[in-house]
Amino acid sequence: MIARGAMHRGSALWIAALVHRLSGLALAIFLPLHFLALGLAIDGEAKLEGFLRWTDQPLVKFAEGGLIFLLTVHLLGGLRVLVIENFDWRDGQKQLATLAAALSAIIAFFFLARVF
């Protein structure tokens, strides 16, 4: 008995909250892998170097760009929550949320520009 196509769920702020949650989940899954990769240095520099060269592949670089997008968007989304919860109410939040998403994409794009 769920109503179909709930329109208010398409609002910019609802999407911002969902993106915040999904990016957090993605980062939480990524983090153990990140730590394992860095831990390769225990076995010596060569092991880590081997891994780093593996990450030179274009596909991996794209994935890294994606991760930077997730990190930035999660940070900015978190700032949104911290501001709502700790400061006076402000209008124009929808515009700020859209701006935050754009900013994250731009930063990720700059990263990709540097590595390609």
């Binding site: 980062l27 983090l31 831990g39 240095a41 225990i42 520099e45 700059f110």
Partner: protein, 109 residues
């Protein structure tokens, strides 16, 4: 429990704002200069600064991610509060352990 978890979640979030910004800057620097493992490790080896920075980051991230995951599980999965909390605690320790090992790897080994 709720107030405590809420405060830890928000506090670690606020703490990580500058930590993440520095981390992104580090990523950009390393990417631009095409750093090798040797380049990276020569900078981090025996460095109190890097050990402290990343040690703090690992601690904050472990707490923050664990509480976040707990909330998502309680709302989106069949696990209820207790199951979600148990999973989150294990996850938090896993992150902290692997993270500490990673810091050790780049600073001391």
């Amino acid at each position: 429990m709720n107030v405590r978890l809420y405060l830890w979640q928000r506090a670690t979030a606020a703490l990580m704002v500058p930590l993440v910004l520095v981390h992104i800057a580090v990523i950009f620097y390393a990417a631009r200069n095409g750093m090798t493992a040797a380049d990276i490790l020569s900078r981090t080896h025996g460095s109190i600064v890097w050990a402290s920075y990343y040690g703090l980051f690992v601690a904050a991230a472990s707490i923050h991610a664990a509480i976040g995951v707990r909330n998502v599980l309680a709302e989106w999965s069949p696990l209820k509060d207790r199951g979600a909390s148990q999973f989150a605690i294990v996850f938090g320790f896993l992150l902290a352990g692997l993270g500490a090992r990673a810091v050790f790897a780049v600073v001391l080994s």
